[in-house]
Symmetry: C2
Subunit: 336 residues, 2 copies
């Protein structure tokens, strides 16, 4: 039994490429006290991983060259030295880009396949869902009737964010990069409106048309000129959550943009960055809410699935380019 | 008896100049019910007035061409149709750039010359003091031991902000534009450190040296490259209050700056604009605090005084250039 691992081969400058990753084969890891051996079934690829490939200072240490790429996954317990887990249990945690992982049991969460499909624990009931929930609720405090704009709206986080805002009675406008995504947002997901920023490049005009009463809340996954345009239409006491800035992550040199701090004074507005990791003590609250809405049919989701660990780099790079709709996943092994 | 008034003669593009103002002489205004006629004694000139000279959208309507320039002042009541005021009383309110004003009594506040000199009601006990108090306390929530950086630190607002932060037990670093101002901040006002941004132009190095533990709170009156440099050194959960952006107000075309929103994510930091006008219901609280500290000798202030209404434009332009230390005032008439 070998353990295939995808390790970081090189630190990218600008856009990462497949050669920045390398697959190696090792022996499965051995377990210590309190640890759990899992077989990876699903791997999540997410924008934050671009930051871990870089050695620029950030909130978490970078992946070292030659180390297994960091990543959340769902796995099946094979062996357990931890009271809470038995072989056959399903768990989620930072399993990494590999077939088998050994993790401290305390860092795994049990997953109930009766509540939702295993893969959902990496999306609507995982980091993306919790990010959407806490970023919107805790940073933006949306009120019924307010206008909420979401960038990266068809992604794993944005698609959940917009739906939560709808559940709360807000008017929700999505920004995404493909007509099929726009149709999904305004169709199945019930967004009030959306526009394709790749074909509709006059963002000011689009926002003026779709947000005639201005913008009260902005949940930003993207940054750059889209965010500049949103800021030009915010209302008094607007709240802006900075969740991601994916348009900037692959720039080889920093981009300049218009200075907009005077707008914050005129509008008495707040711009706040957040990380879902700061909400670990409240994850139970978030999961109860998200799970409830999911069971009531109020939250819908889509997955883009790439088959095989060996294709994880391709899945990751495609996600950075916006090729996914909803959550981008890699199926590492069949569920049963 | 004539009423000299300074009216807006032209909307400036870029830096305003004296010819954008014009002095006219009119009859003193006549009073209606509930109104009060005042003789102006002191006029405050403040950065926000630059915004009122422009017709760009803002939080308040612009001054119209030919209208008296807006401005806060301290005056002596000459005649009163309002229960709360009698001739000889001292009041503060938006008296405008003129010798005599008629104001609704409800929009005037009584001033107690026994508590503090009349001019102080335009500084430490006026808009600047209240701006410093609410911006620091309510937006930044400073805690003892935290590092607070103030830009425009020797101005009317900045000098009070830094002292309040010191009173709260913070380590306070000021940024100002003259060696004499730096000496005042670190001497009489008790700032822990300060630097002259005009002679010490490597802001990153200066902040690294003076804030070795990073920056928890930034109270920004200035904007531009100084703010960019501060943002590069903020700590996790930093709070940034945007009070003013005076470095941008006189630019003929918008300036570009580095995009820094990714920093807000990494640091889970907040940037919030505010206006003191939103705190009117809490002015009493602010004045009690400020008045108490003033009487205890914990708050010190300085005034830069220009003589004569006719020199108000010059005083205003000098303030925009940073020529004042502490509060810039215009003495319109002797107090007695």
């Amino acid at each position: 039994m070998t353990n295939r691992q995808i390790v970081l081969a090189a630190r990218p400058a600008g856009w990462p490429k497949e050669s920045d990753f390398r697959m190696i084969e090792t022996l499965p890891p051995t377990m210590g006290p309190g640890q759990v051996l899992t077989r990876s079934l699903w791997l999540s690829v997410d924008p934050y991983m671009r930051g871990r490939m870089s050695d620029a200072p950030s909130y978490a240490a970078p992946v070292r060259i030659g180390d297994v790429m960091v990543g959340g996954g769902v796995g099946r317990v094979e062996e357990s030295n931890h009271d809470r887990f038995r072989p056959g249990d399903y768990v989620t945690g930072l399993l990494g880009w590999q077939d088998y992982a050994v993790s401290p049991g305390d860092q795994l969460r049990a997953v109930d396949p009766a509540l939702a499909p295993l893969s959902a624990w990496l999306g609507v009931l995982g980091g993306p869902g919790l990010t959407a929930y806490f970023g919107l609720i805790d940073v933006c405090h949306p009120k019924a009737g307010e206008t909420v704009v979401v960038s990266g709206a068809a992604g794993a986080v944005g698609s959940i964010t917009g739906q939560i805002a709808r559940i709360l009675g807000c008017r929700v406008i999505g920004i995404a990069g493909a007509d099929a995504k726009i149709a999904w947002l305004t169709g199945e997901l019930g967004f009030d409106a959306a526009f394709n920023y790749k074909t509709n490049t006059d963002y000011d005009a689009a926002l003026k048309q779709l947000c005639p009463g201005g913008i009260d809340v902005y949940f930003d996954n993207v940054g750059g000129p889209i965010t500049d345009a949103v800021l030009r239409r915010i209302n008094v006491h607007a709240r802006i959550a900075i969740c991601g800035q994916i348009s900037l992550y692959n720039l080889e040199k920093p981009e300049m943009g218009p200075r907009w701090l005077p707008t914050l004074i005129i509008k008495r507005a707040k711009v706040e960055g957040f990380l879902v990791l700061d909400y670990v003590p409240r994850f139970r609250e978030g999961l109860e809410k998200l799970g409830g809405w999911l069971q009531e049919g109020k939250l819908k989701y889509r997955e883009s699935i790439v088959e095989g660990l060996e294709n994880a780099p391709r899945a990751f790079l495609g996600m950075l380019r916006g090729e996914n709709t909803g959550k981008q996943l890699v199926r590492i092994a069949p569920e049963s």
